[in-house]
Symmetry: C2
Subunit: 135 residues, 2 copies
Amino acid sequence: MNTSDWMDAIRWTEDGLVPVVAQDAVSGRVLMFAWMNRESLAHTVKTGEAVYWSRSRGRLWHKGETSGHVQKVREVRLDCDGDVLLLSIEQVGGIACHTGRQSCFYLRLETAGDAAAPHWVAVDPVLKDPDSIYA
Amino acid sequence: MNTSDWMDAIRWTEDGLVPVVAQDAVSGRVLMFAWMNRESLAHTVKTGEAVYWSRSRGRLWHKGETSGHVQKVREVRLDCDGDVLLLSIEQVGGIACHTGRQSCFYLRLETAGDAAAPHWVAVDPVLKDPDSIYA
């Protein structure tokens, strides 16, 4: 198997991307969801730090490049369909979300109570003021 | 807030879908990745069992409808960008993958060894023969 075979095993989207789930290796929390292209995945595997493809900015995104909250990659997994990646990572600083929270998934759907309609509630604490993270 | 507001808070794709990560509420394992449309999410929240949108079959997919391996939803979360859902679920039968494994993410990228190129290795056991699951 040559070096590119493992990349060819991935079913990339028409845009050349693959969805990525990042999970905290310590807490087990799902921290964030992002995308990679071939170049970002190659960087990730080579350097051991998560590098994503920012669709909004149209460029490689070394997670933590501004905040210092880099993600050290312990393990990379691929799913049965070959079209989703799962990273097990150590989250430097303990903060993955740009809001200063551990995880980007901090909005919980509340459905309890007969009278109340379902609604989203922010249930996780802000660990650090975003202004101080990105200052 | 009326009933549809919580759905409108989700940033659906142009195709009217949202990516969904399903995590085992007990083991913390990330079990699978799939998609939902509004109808499938409404069914999920109403019935308490995961209903996805099958892109390949173009129809609602009540997970476990054939295998019996339904997913009882304990919690639904939304991420900071409002464009990804995370389900915390109880996986009936302990098997989420159609290959008979606990998780769909059973392929691990092996990079150890100077000589070996990276390659994917199936590292999780098959718990049940797929032929007997879907017989």
